[in-house]
């Protein structure tokens, strides 16, 4: 009897798993496995693997030239990987590219539109190319026009649009077929602060019913909206974490802050402290060289005896910026 009950319990959990699979909750929408791509002697992307599920916003973070765009272009099938594979909604992009392409919308960094076309014409062209027609196309046009506030711009030629509207039309073409995953390459590049906030809000809304992958070299962006962060540097994946995990990933250390020019050499050596470095104006910061818990009461007494003024002592944590710089070898800018 007990065995029977146990058996039933297993069956129920199996059914739940199958139901979740069918509803797409557990299914990875994008699976990239060991992607590698070289251009001549340069290795642009090396052994990059990741997965993304519905509801996730995955941020690709890395300095310019780190391999973000190359990775995105391999996922979208625009570039064939030398090794590895990419699957979108279970469809291998190299085996059935047309079916795989139905599942995603892609906005390249340059936002290329056809200048001589009107916005409505352009969006209808993309919609038709994606197999929408008749009422379905009209409904998709209405939905996307409303969502992105493109109503007043529909009759405008694409080459007369401002940067902000170009961006919206680019997003509209990526969203018109209501894809399972939206892939955006540097979507906030060149926008003003208000437009950046709008795009971030839109990305959040989009992820409610689908997955979003976007690349950026702006750290605040990642911290502001991503549910997961992938850090790429010199073509290699060096971190795949949630923003919280990445914060935990930041190392911390004991430090003591004193007023004036810092502690005497004798005191530093005695307590295993590094030489002082300038902190806030009029303050000097000494870091502990070892990770062992320092003898704080003795140190505090000795500092007072030496005539210095103790301002603060405690653990200091790296900011996300410092983690990023450390992970990318101190290179935050152009390679």
């Amino acid at each position: 009897m007990e065995r029977g009950e146990a058996r039933m319990a297993v069956d129920t959990s199996d059914q739940t798993a199958v139901a979740a699979e069918i509803s797409g909750e557990n299914l990875a929408i994008v699976e990239a496995q060991q992607l590698r791509r070289t251009f001549g002697a340069t290795v642009a992307v090396d052994d990059v693997s990741f997965e993304i599920r519905r509801g996730e916003i995955l941020g690709f973070l890395g300095p310019n030239g780190a391999g973000k765009s190359t990775t995105l272009r391999m996922i979208t099938g625009l570039l064939a990987p030398d090794q590895g594979s990419a699957r979108i909604c279970g469809v291998e992009i190299s085996e059935d590219p047309l079916k795989a392409r139905q599942h995603f919308g892609y906005l390249p960094e340059a936002i290329p539109l056809y200048g001589e076309m009107e916005v409505a014409e352009y969006l209808r062209f993309v919609g038709k190319s994606r197999g929408l027609e008749g009422t379905a196309l009209d409904q998709a046009m209405d939905r996307i026009t409303d969502r992105l506030g493109l109503g007043p711009m529909l009759r405008r030629r694409c080459d007369t649009l401002s940067k902000g509207y170009r961006q919206r039309v680019g997003l509209a073409q990526a969203l018109i077929h209501d894809p399972d995953v939206v892939i955006l390459d540097e979507p906030t590049n060149g926008l003003d602060p208000r437009q950046i906030i709008e795009v971030r809000q839109l990305i959040r809304e989009l992820a409610e019913e689908r997955a979003v992958i976007f690349s950026t070299h702006i750290l605040q962006e990642i911290a502001a909206i991503c549910t997961r962060i992938i850090v790429i540097h010199s073509g290699k994946l060096i971190a795949d974490k949630t923003p919280e995990e990445l914060s935990d990933f930041s190392s911390s250390h004991w430090e003591v802050v004193v007023a004036g020019d810092g502690l005497s050499q004798q005191l530093c050596v005695g307590h295993g402290l590094a030489e002082g470095v300038a902190g806030a104006p009029g303050e000097t910061v000494h870091r502990w060289l070892s990770e062992s818990t320092p003898d704080l009461s003795t140190l505090a007494r000795q500092i007072e005896e030496s005539g210095s003024k103790l301002i603060r002592v405690g653990r200091s944590r790296e900011t996300l910026e410092q983690v990023y710089l450390r992970l990318t070898g101190g290179q935050g800018g152009q390679r």
């Binding site: 099938g77 625009l78 892609y106 390249p108 290329p112 076309m117």
Partner: protein, 244 residues
């Protein structure tokens, strides 16, 4: 088929929505009409034919076809819109054929616009007009035009610079029309008869003249259609190469 039509419609909108197609049609007709009325024996011996018109056609197409097609891929490569285009669920073959068909429609429009010439001939002619060579000439224009436009599509996919695409297109056109010409074949026939036959069979003019005489031989039709297919296949290959 549906996706080919979607691409063709977009490209046609681009051709006829901007001055490109109209300039092509107007210039082609103006230049051909000038030579036709100026140098043909039309008014002198009252010949009711269009031999001068169709004699010039291969040379016109040699220059104008790459001018029409140069933007088809070069422009997309320059702006990066191929990134969006190639991420759409459309086969590359369909993209290539769709774009080429749009250029063919521009050619058909220019042919239709020139119907005023044979209408004038028919109206002025004292004796009944021999329609065979005229219909043959138009057929030859369409068939050879299709091949020149396919050639133009291919060179357009080679470079993101439209001027380079145009120059390479005209250069290959010159080889097909002027180098592989019947005159050159005749020059070679004495010393290298085999080579002469090769020049004759690969040159545009010999096939065009055969059709223009009003004799529609399968071999000439096959030449132009397989030539078109060959250049379209090269275009597909070239576009697929962008993924590599």
């Amino acid at each position: 088929m549906k996706s080919i039509m979607t691409v063709t419609r977009r490209e046609c909108g681009s051709y006829f929505g901007t001055p490109i197609a109209w300039i092509f049609i107007a210039m082609q007709i103006a230049i051909l009409s000038f030579f036709f009325f100026q140098f043909s024996p039309f008014f002198v011996i009252e010949s009711a034919d269009m031999r001068v018109w169709f004699g010039l056609t291969p040379f016109m197409l040699m220059v104008f076809a790459p001018a029409v097609t140069m933007r088809l891929w070069s422009e997309e490569l320059r702006t990066g819109s191929t990134e969006v285009l190639l991420s759409l669920p459309i086969r590359v073959q369909d993209l290539v054929v769709g774009k080429w068909l749009a250029a063919v429609i521009v050619l058909v429009a220019s042919v239709v616009c020139s119907f005023g010439i044979p209408a004038t001939i028919a109206w002025l002619a004292a004796s009944p007009v021999d329609w065979g060579p005229i219909i043959g000439g138009y057929l030859g224009t369409l068939l050879s035009g299709m091949m020149f436009l396919a050639l133009g599509c291919w060179v357009s996919a080679l470079s993101h610079n439209q001027v380079i695409s145009l120059l390479v297109g005209v250069f290959v056109g010159i080889i097909l029309v002027l180098v592989l010409s019947p005159d050159f074949a005749a020059y070679l026939s004495g010393t290298y008869p085999a080579l002469s036959r090769v020049v004759e069979s690969f040159g545009v003019q010999s096939h065009f003249r055969a059709i223009e005489r009003g004799v529609l031989a399968i071999s000439d039709v096959v030449y132009f259609l397989s030539g078109s297919l060959f250049f379209l296949a090269l275009t597909v290959f070239q576009v697929e190469l962008k993924r590599q």
